[in-house]
Amino acid sequence: MQRGSTLEQLPLGADGQRVAIDNARKSLGTIILGKDEKISLSMACLLARGHLLIEDLPGLGKTMLAQALARVLGLSYQRIQFTSDLLPADIVGVSIFRQSDGEFKFQPGPVFAQLVLADEVNRATPKAQSALLEAMEEQQVSVDGQTHALPEPFFVVATQNPSDQIGTFPLPESQLDRFLMRLELGYPNEESERALITGRDRRQMLEEIEATLSPELVTELQEAVEKVHMSGPLVDYVQALVRFTRESPDIETGLSPRGSLALVAAAKAHAFILHHSGVFPDDVQAVFAAVAGHRLKPASGSSYRSPGELSRHVLDSVAIP
């Protein structure tokens, strides 16, 4: 386990929270180059107590982002490589009979960590997938009739290769709903790529990076996020967006109430990270694609094929009240 040992374990207060957030973003920015927006979104996802799904081609820094998050936030980290022969027990753990004690003892699986990277989650069978999803949903694991609570905070970053690759079980739509956000990292820009090539080894840098937060402080921040002010006009805006997704002929299934709750939670976290005095329309727009993209199903006749396009269409069509 890795912990931010250099930090005082005291509540930060509003100013301390600002500094801690900024430091964390800065630290992450030194590892993941040119992806400030994605870094903010993934932090927002964590602070909104959600789970993150990163969907992209291999080699774009998914694992790096997860590892960096764990280090900077001072969270314990486990990585589970999903393969087609992965069993649920490989995720949640097993009860082992101990000869010496003469009784069964629960051996926690890799899911018992504050930040769990579920790598290439679409490679495993649905059975193994649902073991993870259940743990995410329940915040606990049941083995042999015994319930074991997962650590706090508990944050899953799942990665998934685009499903047109061979030998995968893409997550069904109903399961996608469990993830607060879905991100696509995309290629770095020219400048960042150049810095990446010429710079130091990222793995080594990761080893040296200092934790700026701790699990306790993350919990504190999560609580602070919930208190971010939401004004009447902003609620109107969220409602208008949700109504549009339900009424638009381009969208087959609009946002569910759970979807609108997710939108609000993510927008609050985003506003918190950017030190906004309340949730601004910009916050809603910033998280909208990540939160709503995997929850909207385009209608068959629609000209908007990708979730990104569809999200953009929604945002451009709804006036900000």
């Binding site: 906004h276 309340g278 601004f280 069509s317 006036a319």
Partner: protein, 655 residues
């Protein structure tokens, strides 16, 4: 031909309420209306509901015209008239039924609900009982509820039925002060030119103007109130409570009858009165007859249309169709001393030849044994008292020569039998005699301190003419059953004495409840229904208006209505909270106008600012400043300072 389309089902939600309101308002009329009208209404209501539910077409116009014509002729045939309360409410019910068949829109529903209100008012033209008041108020509230449900269905709002009921009740409460002001102040006019036409066909209640003892074998004792009396001082003793009604003097051997009410100017001059006067106010229930009841013997009375007849009975010029109140002064010690002309003597002593011979013979033999007329009368009373004569309310029927049968065979009867027999005995020996019909007794209501005289208190007694005393009251019933006179029918019933007459004692508790209810009704009659010009004048004077006249009333009323409406409007205005003005949004709009760049749909303030900022550094800085202030003022926590900062930023922004 025009294609007929079905209804659009838009009334589906509100129509049941309208139907319920109509049915509720119509219900009090049903007992008076011909059955076919109720059936027609129910049929139309059912038909209309079916049309709405299955989205069928409404009946064609020609069919509706035919139906209207048929119904109109039906009313004409049922009543042989189209004016008056009966035909009027029948037409109203028909109107409601037929209007249903052309109800297509909200406008038509309005008309239906107006008809519902009209039906409620029409039932007040018929009856104005206190007990029907809650029902009628409920009917109005239901109509208002139907109204609210209708407006609601149109506006697409969702409110619970309970809420609608509450709102309707509240509206009624709002209207109450206005209603009171109008009721108190609207000028009452002495001769009501809007007088309600009364159905003269209704059965009469009260005393019959003829009397045939023996024809009916049992007396129906109705609890119905004949009149109520409020005495100015103490009430007279029970044995003096003879309420004079009409006088019968013609006898054909079995039936006594009298004059039609006529005025006799000299009648009052024949009265000699002594002792303390008894002053009182009588509130008489309508009898549809002209006779007016007063304590024996009335000497002064309040209404000019009441007059005294030749036999000292009071009557009114027109039949008493509505509850009538009048003041009167009576003396219980009096003498009636008209001249007994030979013509009058013949009239008051005539007996049909060969009728009731045994009684005539008995009277003559008894007269021979007596000294004078007075002692003879006493002897007859003595005979009733001592021999086996019984007072009963269920006597046997008598057949021909009823007085003979009664005197010698059955010996059972009530006041009519004894009065008749006594009068016949007197006439048989040439003593002028006549029968007085009226009421005797009555019950003091301790709740309201007034006397209730019921139909059951109806009584018949005799007056005989004695040379030195004039007409002298003799009540032979008192000789047989003194309790009947001393306690009255109700008193006798309550004490159980009346059990031997065939009357069971009522349950005391129920009787007390009845008295309380009667006291309430008396107040209702007195103050609500009896609020006429006189009451209004005295009440307004009591309220402080000098010499009230209709000009002052209308002026005050107009002023009061204006004040009340103003007050209610003021209260509503004060309670109205306009949605708070979004100053930040308005300021931001001003900023975008100043910037001269229209924000795109869905463009966030920050995106807008950066789009604006492409045109120059300075502009970008200004736009950023405004945007930052705008965002925190509008989307941040409430903070008045932020608004001022935004105002300053917008004011300082230059393009």
């Amino acid at each position: 031909m025009v294609k007929r389309t079905g209804t659009d089902g838009s009334l589906l939600a509100s129509l049941p309420w309208t139907l319920a309101a109509l049915a509720f308002s119509l219900a009090p009329h049903v007992q008076f209306l011909p059955v076919w009208i109720t059936v027609a209404f129910l049929a139309c209501a059912g038909w209309r509901w079916d049309i709405e539910r299955h989205r069928r077409a409404l009946p064609r116009p020609w069919l509706r015209v035919v139906l209207a014509l048929v119904c109109f002729l039906g009313v004409l045939a049922s009543y042989e008239s189209v004016s008056g309360v009966g035909p009027g409410s029948a037409l109203l019910a028909i109107m409601a039924a037929l209007k249903l068949l052309e109800t297509r829109k909200r406008r038509d529903q309005f008309v239906l609900l107006f008809i519902s209100i009209f039906l409620v008012m029409a039932s007040l033209l018929r009856e104005q009982y206190l007990w029907s008041l809650p029902y009628l108020i409920l009917a109005v509230v239901l109509t208002m509820t139907a109204w609210l449900r209708m407006s609601l269905a149109d506006d697409g709002g969702e409110t619970s039925v309970k809420q609608s009921f509450k709102t309707a009740g509240r509206l009624m409460l709002y209207a109450t002060p206005l209603m009171l002001a109008m009721w108190i102040l609207f000028p009452r006019i002495a001769t009501p030119f809007w007088a309600i036409p009364v159905d003269t066909s209704s059965a009469t209640s009260g005393l019959s103007d003829r009397m045939s003892p023996g024809d009916i074998s049992s007396l129906s004792l109705s609890d119905a109130v004949a009149f109520r009396v409020k005495f100015d001082g103490d009430a007279p003793d029970p044995i003096d409570r003879y309420w004079r009604g009409l006088v019968l003097y013609r006898f054909n051997g079995r039936t006594w009858s009298g004059w039609e009410p006529i005025m006799a100017r000299s009648a009052r001059e024949e009265l000699l009165v002594a002792g303390e006067p008894v002053r009182y106010q009588v509130t008489m229930e309508p009898t549809r007859q002209q006779w007016v009841f007063a304590l024996d013997i009335p000497f002064e009375w309040s209404r000019s249309e009441i007059f005294m007849g030749p036999q000292h009975q009071l009557a009114k010029e027109q039949p008493i169709d509505q509850r009538m109140a009048y003041q009167a002064t009576s003396y219980t010690r009096y003498q009636i001393t008209p001249k007994m002309t030979s013509y009058s003597r013949t009239r008051y002593t005539r007996l049909p030849a060969k009728s009731n011979p045994r009684t005539v013979e008995l009277a003559q033999s008894m007269r021979r044994a007596s000294e004078d007329d007075e002692s003879f009368a006493k002897a007859v009373l003595q005979r009733f008292h001592e021999e086996e004569y019984f007072y009963t309310l269920r006597p046997p029927a008598l057949g021909s020569n009823p007085v003979d049968r009664f005197m010698f065979d059955t010996r059972r009867g009530f006041c009519e039998h004894y009065a008749s027999a006594f009068a016949v005995m007197m006439r048989a020996v040439g003593i002028p005699s006549r029968i007085v019909l009226g009421y005797q007794g009555g019950e003091m209501n301790p709740m309201g301190r007034y006397l209730i005289v019921r139909q059951a208190d109806a009584h018949a007694w005799t007056e005989i003419w004695l040379p030195n005393r004039g007409w002298h009251r003799v009540d032979p019933t008192a000789a047989v059953a003194p309790e009947r006179i001393e306690f009255g029918i109700t008193g006798a019933m309550l004490s159980g004495i009346a059990a031997s007459w065939g009357l069971a004692a009522p349950i005391a508790f129920v009787h007390r409840m009845g008295l309380t209810w009667d006291a309430l009704n008396a107040k209702w009659n007195d103050w609500i229904l009896g609020y006429g010009p006189d009451k209004q004048d005295s009440f307004l004077e009591w309220l402080g208006m000098d010499e009230p006249d209709w000009r002052k009333m209308m002026l005050t009323l107009t002023f009061l209505i204006a004040a009340l409406v103003g007050l209610i409007s003021l209260v509503l205005m004060m309670r109205y909270r306009p949605p708070p003005k979004d100053h930040a949004a308005l300021l931001y709009k001003k900023f975008t106008r100043k910037a001269g760049l229209v924000p795109n749909c869905g463009e966030t303030p920050q995106d807008y600012a950066s789009r604006l900022g492409q045109d120059g550094e300075e502009l970008a800085a200004g736009a950023d400043r405004v945007t930052a202030q705008y965002l925190s003022a509008r989307y941040g926590p409430p903070n008045p300072a932020a608004m001022d900062l935004l105002r300053a930023a917008v004011a300082g922004f230059k393009n």
